[in-house]
């Protein structure tokens, strides 16, 4: 651009540039001629400290002796314009980043008279950018990353993503995200809403099931993060993901095992309950009469169950007579006899009379020989006798009972 204004305008223009830029002038050999206030403030020097010194005071000593640095000044001497972000050293060795242009000033003969450097300090932006870049690099190295346009078409994916999903970059770029989901979901309203929300800038995170190139299920713990332009408009979506397929499979296996264990536990409980029910079949056989036919071996746990079940049934049915038939009990020893006495005593405390039926002659002798207090229990030889007696106790009687029936049972 060639300036065509008058001298006053030129001075005003130079003043404006001077106020808004850090400016320093060098000889073609790099010696400092002058610098403006902004440059001096930026670098922490006074003009007297730098005037006449070489530009190399602003660069690292190693760089100052390098061929690269020599070439840099050779180019300027030849009139080549240079512009870039430069790291320079301020007073005391403080690093300063300058976005600068080195402008050779040519004389009427076309030779370079001097070099003017116009600069803006960008240290903070540079550090911030480096910080962000470092973070992005770290994420890219540790996570699967894929970027989409807001319509779901794929911009790029990193190597981790490509490796996990089994694709080459060219196989996915430009295609839609739906290539990673099953067809049914891709056609659903939920999927359309998923992308509509992202396009509106809504963040999404969770566990997502996706499918790799071979069609195998892949579980990703992922975030879909909309990226906004300076006006706040979403311009793309970045997905950061971890592969959690192994954990999900492990969880599924664990859940299946747990469900199996719970089912087995349930079955076992039902079986236990059924066995318990079968082992203590307290049955109402008449109004006010309960019958418990005992079969098998009696131990303390079963006797305890019998007592609890019997008392509950007596309470529930308001039974007046409880018939305990032991004709199916294999052996009656002292412990069993005492348990039977306990049950009869307990039923009596509930206001219910107990009759123990089904005593064989051998068991009767055994009970006597064991020294059990037989006064405390009401017994009959057969269940029929017990039932007949129970009917009498509740105010009923058997019609058609033979007159010469002998009462073989003993009633206390």
């Amino acid at each position: 651009m060639e300036y065509k204004g008058d001298l006053n305008e030129a001075k005003a223009l130079i003043g404006a540039i001077d106020r808004s830029n850090a400016i320093i002038e060098f000889t073609v050999d790099g010696e400092i001629i002058d610098a403006n206030a902004m440059f001096l403030q930026c670098m922490g020097y006074t003009i007297d400290e730098i005037r006449g010194k070489h530009h190399r005071i602003f660069v690292e000593p190693k760089f100052a002796v390098s061929s690269q640095y020599t070439e840099f000044w050779d180019m300027l001497k030849k009139g080549t314009f240079c512009a870039s972000d430069y790291m320079r050293l301020a007073k005391g060795g403080r690093e300063v980043w300058l976005q600068a242009t080195y402008n050779p000033v040519l004389g009427a003969d076309g030779k370079v008279l001097k070099v003017i450097k116009l600069a803006t300090e960008v240290t903070n932006q540079k550090l911030s950018s480096a910080n962000a870049t470092g973070k992005i690099d770290a994420v890219e190295k540790s996570m699967a990353v894929i970027e989409f346009n807001t319509d779901g078409s794929i911009i790029r994916a990193n190597d981790l993503f490509l490796d996990r999903m089994g694709y080459e970059a060219h196989e996915i770029e430009g295609k839609h995200h739906r290539m990673f989901v099953d067809k049914e979901f891709a056609a659903s309203q939920a999927y359309a809403q998923f992308w509509a929300d992202l396009a509106q800038g809504k963040f999404n995170r969770g566990r997502f099931e996706r499918f790799d190139k071979a069609g195998e299920s892949v579980w990703l713990e992922a975030t879909y993060s909309p990226i906004f332009d300076p006006n706040g408009k979403p311009v793309k979506i970045v997905k950061f993901a971890y592969d959690i397929t192994a954990q999900v499979r492990q969880g599924e296996a664990l859940e299946a095992a747990l469900a199996e264990a719970q089912e087995a536990e349930k079955m076992r409980n039902e079986l236990d309950r059924a066995v318990q029910e079968m082992s203590t079949p307290v049955t109402p056989i008449w109004e006010g009469i309960l019958l418990l036919p005992l079969v098998g071996v009696l131990d303390s746990m079963r006797t305890s169950d019998i007592m609890n079940k019997s008392l509950s049934m007596i309470s529930e049915m308001r039974a007046k007579v409880f018939v305990l038939d032991i004709s199916g009990v294999a052996t009656v020893d002292t412990a069993v006899a005492n348990q039977l006495i306990k049950i009869t005593k307990a039923t009596r405390l509930m206001g219910c009379e107990a009759i123990v039926s089904g005593l064989s002659p051998a068991i009767a002798r055994t009970i006597v020989e064991l020294g059990v207090n037989v006064e405390a229990i009401r017994t009959t030889a057969t269940l029929r006798d017990a039932f007949e007696k129970a009917l009498v106790m509740v105010g009923e009687s058997l019609i058609g009972k033979k007159a010469n029936d002998t009462d073989a049972h003993k009633v206390k």
Partner: protein
């Protein structure tokens, strides 16, 4: 008739019904005993019924105390009964081998009154 708020004593059909309450202390129990025994001596009482329907927990000492009182009642010529013992109390008394002879037991008050109330043979 009531000795205090913890013991309700009711006379019906010639029978005294004592409604036992939980946590009855010795003084209250003794006051109840005295009131019931005095009543037996003064009037024609056929039976005394201790109703435990409001008692969920009963230890052996409390049970023996009640039985001793009923033995006193028996000596004064009245029948005795304990009604509405819960299944839990019954199991406990059986396990601790409590002495339970010497009185009558009924499932509920109705059965006891049916047995001992006026007009019944007892």
């Amino acid at each position: 008739m009531s000795v205090n708020s913890k013991v309700a004593i009711t006379k019906t059909q010639g029978v005294i019904v004592v409604t036992m309450h939980p946590d009855l202390d010795t003084d209250d129990f003794n006051a109840m005993c005295e009131a019931v025994l005095t009543q037996i001596v003064k009037s024609d009482i056929k039976a005394v019924i201790l109703d435990f329907s409001a008692v969920d927990v009963l230890n052996l000492t409390e049970f023996n105390r009640a039985r001793a009182f009923l033995n006193s009642v028996y000596l004064l010529g009245a029948e005795t009964a304990i009604v509405s013992l819960s299944a839990g109390i019954v199991v406990y008394l059986t396990e601790v081998q409590a002495e339970t002879q010497g009185t009558n037991y009924f499932f509920g008050l109705d059965e006891a009154l049916q047995r001992f109330g006026k007009g019944e043979s007892g």
